[in-house]
Subunit: 337 residues, 4 copies
């Protein structure tokens, strides 16, 4: 941590800051120019992140050089984390394709889509049982019945299943039925849920929040890792900007940045990111070269009758076509499906 | 709802949309130009918000004219809601001043600040027992002990107390000790928590999310209202933009907009919005004229030793000065403290 | 400037950076911790801002402590700049009210509005002769004819006139007819125009760009000041965010921030910021307490027939009412109209 | 255009709107529900975009179905525009690679880089002679001398040259020396410059503004096309968001969207978009699959001594490696270099 003092800060102000730091257990290193003084602060992350020095008299700026996360960083672990989910895996050279409908609607829908996406090369099945909806008047999902249908379709097709935990109180129940627990964008900073999932031993799919920075995503991952659960998959799904043509703005540079900063696998959700069916294929293909370790794509046997997110769902033939086109790209990048 | 068909949509596509709408129970009204056809859809909000027509062949755009909320709207209730909290009130001409530290740290801190802000004209006491922090290494709050200290300070000073519910599982416990339950910005779309608070009968202070639109804030309020809890206070606390000089961008026009759109009281949090002590007074004063029904301000007896948010906390003399300056402004606006 | 080296940067890398800085004429000050080395760099602003050190091997981060502007800063001039425009003034305790239509449309329109706003207390007249429009198919303004009508209306009412310079080649012509030269939001970083206006001796009204930071606004002002033109008025007119209810997001905290950072007067444009007639009065009143030195408001004798920006224009009675309500507020803030 | 009237708008208000539309030359089509009335408006784009109906009494919302551009749209021209620049081309299956330094600095620098990028497969040479810089204290470019050095290096290497027009008054001069005229992000809505370039007969490279929507980019292109200059190349170079890890947020979905909406070629600038050398290669490769027709990449023979943008410049070996890796990807997409 660097503390930049105001121009011509008094010796008393500087001493006061230094004394407080020493009393807190940190070491300091002073750099005094003619008008500017900068205080370098050395200490453990746990200590540094509990020091709030911005309010001290004479302090102009506090710059945290130490990142707010540790276990998630490449410095802590240089080799890629591979998250294994039954027969499937994500990361470390294995490219995952997770496909399925926005929401679980019926047994027939789930069995149809599960078998079709499996045949087309998907490695996991997605489907929402609890749906986060801005309006309380919109369809909220089938709940436990949905979980059971999802499980059944996963078993029938041999695909592990991914679904969202919307309420921390349901985490145990969801974990009974699902193989991967998804944290939605709106819950990315629901820290109590992150801690709960950190105590569990099921892989977590952590979606980037609508206005979360790259660093905040990694800090949220850190909550889970710190609890002892090392199976965290990050998911870039678009951020909120002024652009309205697309539902969100897909930040593929964040994927490349994650691959530099963290050992955790990173997948991309082109469906929610764009909200437009015709942009899913190009964004899926681009994601491969941004360094993604996989994709999560909404597929519905009959998108126009989908109970949610119809406009961004692929039908089965479109998914088959997209999936086939991905294989050579994935191989070109030196990965395997 | 208006459904704009693509240019030269086929008669079959149009009929298909109309048939689906009728089958769902909606009425339609066709407006056919030479190249464009627009289908007006009439039905209950509950119905309209479960219709996802964007995915139908030939559909270009779906425009929802009906708002995603109802109980929160001025159309539903034109007179201002007044939320009463013990001796205090917010809305309907009563301007509330909620003050206190970011986090509860000790008995002495709480008693000092409570008495001081009460003497300076505050009508409620704030203080965080459970703190949402981006990094798991930052101070997380005192928990239940903090709740008790907050309650004690409230009782000692005669001020009702406001504190955040960070975990839905703690809602009952927090409700035992606090008078107003705060939903933080990061939980504004934690719909399960909103539903839980809707079932309770304690006033809720709902903070705007970092990237939430005005309409989404009202939709989140609707979740609480729909559960039967009519005591919802909205709080504008800044949104996330590209500007970095301030911590967030305070959107005072949203306050004026809320006063047009909803009967619920609206308060402003200049501390979190700006993150800068010297901007709190001007923004507090500006908020009065934007139409705010109150303020929530961070006050700490010793900001430089605060365990969180020191740089944005006022010390007691600064709060006294600000509070005194507000009274004539509030009266000028035809309100009372 | 602080240069933070990567963890465990080699002595050669550090020396290489230091050598380059010395060769460029800067002084350095080394602060070496066990893992981190920070190099403080001291030199003139002109020098510091031509040093691009981010690309050097071993460099992790470059932090510019020195601001990119000088003449615009409070450090350079602590007392408020007062911009005088004929009988009117902005800044230093004088609150300016600039009113008039979005675009000049006819002699009658301009004479009507000029006399009305003058009678209601406006101190300057605005009106666009050259209009920046996103679409080439929208009304582009009356050009030179518009300038003449604006001048005529100003003379007839005794109000100095403000109008936009859309094309740097028209700057001289506009300066012949107008008293204040406006730089629109879309030209805030048209540096060649800023330099041209810096060479002129007419006051400049510099509007904040849609995605310009506070620091960038001051850097753009610096271009004008550096040319020798000291009469610069800043204008906050809303920034572009994800919110769509308002046309832009009015950043009143930026106004308070500008009053801390710069001696230049700052006015607010609530019309373009909100794009909604019913939000203009509350935002105008709030602006007074954010510290604004004035307002620029769109007023049209017949808003529904305005050739541009009708929805955000006040009619004359509404402006009269608003203007009257501002006087006591301005006086309350210790300023005069 | 659709005009949605307020609930229970009076028959007089509706008639008033209709009368005004008819008087303006538009046709109308009324759709009256029990509470809502919607007025469809039919007319030429030139007419529709001069109608500002938002201000009329009783009007709730105005929805423009007609796009604000025409010549730029796929409806106007379905086949891809191919922009030819001497021996090079962009669009219609030809993938262009434009490379060179941020700014022209010396004859040696330019000759070195020109020959190197040519040998590595670049099809055009870039280099800034006039540099837009936020601070007036930063390096502003070599001006005319820079133009000449750029031309010389282009001739020596056989590469057409691309450079920015910073001042509309220099457009003719720049056109004398350069083959493609670049409009920088900060000038994307400098409409007078767009009109001037529309009158010229040199290809224009139009960069997306920092806060410009997809529709606004196309509207700016329309200004140029409307003047008769059909050789417009669009460039996605990142938008401004809250994320600070990258310099801007590269919006690759916008590239895919442009390919749907317009026949104009679209290239990507990964250097300015990310501002980080290590993200350039993955974003370049991803751009190919987003549908880009080319790339513009900053290459400097000695990035650490670059006078601007060093941290985002590739050195020559890195560019060679990247360029070689692109060829099979371009071919995979069915295009040629």
């Amino acid at each position: 941590m660097l503390i930049v003092m105001r121009d011509h800060a008094s010796p008393e102000e500087i001493q006061h800051v230094v004394d407080h730091l020493h009393a807190s257990g940190a070491e300091t290193h002073l750099s005094q120019g003619e008008v500017k003084t900068v205080i370098g602060v050395i200490g453990e992350r746990e200590l540094i992140y509990t020091l709030d020095m911005e309010g001290f008299p004479g302090v102009s700026e506090v710059i945290r050089v130490l990142k707010p996360y540790k276990l998630a960083g490449r410095e802590f672990q240089s080799e890629d984390t591979v998250v294994k989910v039954g027969p499937a895996a994500v990361g470390g050279g294995t490219f995952a394709v997770i496909a399925g409908p926005c929401s679980v609607e019926s047994e027939e829908q789930m069995l149809t889509v599960a078998k079709a996406v499996k045949a087309a090369g998907a490695t996991m099945l997605r489907g929402g049982a609890y749906k986060p909806r801005s309006s309380p008047y919109a369809f909220q999902g089938m709940g436990l019945d949905g979980l059971k249908l999802l499980r059944e379709a996963g078993d029938a097709s041999g695909l592990p299943v991914v679904t969202e935990v919307l309420d921390v109180r349901d985490a145990e129940t969801v974990a009974e039925w699902a193989d991967v627990l998804q944290v939605g964008a709106r819950n990315m900073q629901n820290f109590m849920m992150l801690e709960e999932l950190g105590r569990m031993r099921k892989p977590v799919l952590l979606k980037r929040g609508l206005s979360a920075t790259i660093e905040e995503v990694l800090s949220s991952a850190e909550y889970i890792l710190k609890g002892g659960n090392r199976d965290v998959i990050l998911c870039e799904r678009g951020i909120r900007t002024f652009e309205t043509y697309t539902r969100n703005t897909l930040d593929l540079a964040a994927v490349a940045a994650f691959k530099v900063l963290t050992h955790l696998p990173v997948i991309v959700d082109p469906s929610h990111a764009t909200g437009r069916r015709d942009l899913i294929a190009p964004m899926s293909r681009a994601a491969v070269f941004a360094g993604a370790d996989g994709l999560i794509i909404e597929v519905h046997p009959d998108p126009e009758h989908a109970l949610c997110d119809g406009p961004q769902s692929l039908d089965i033939p479109s998914f088959e076509k997209l999936s086939a086109s991905l294989t050579p790209l994935v191989e070109f990048e030196g990965k395997r499906r």
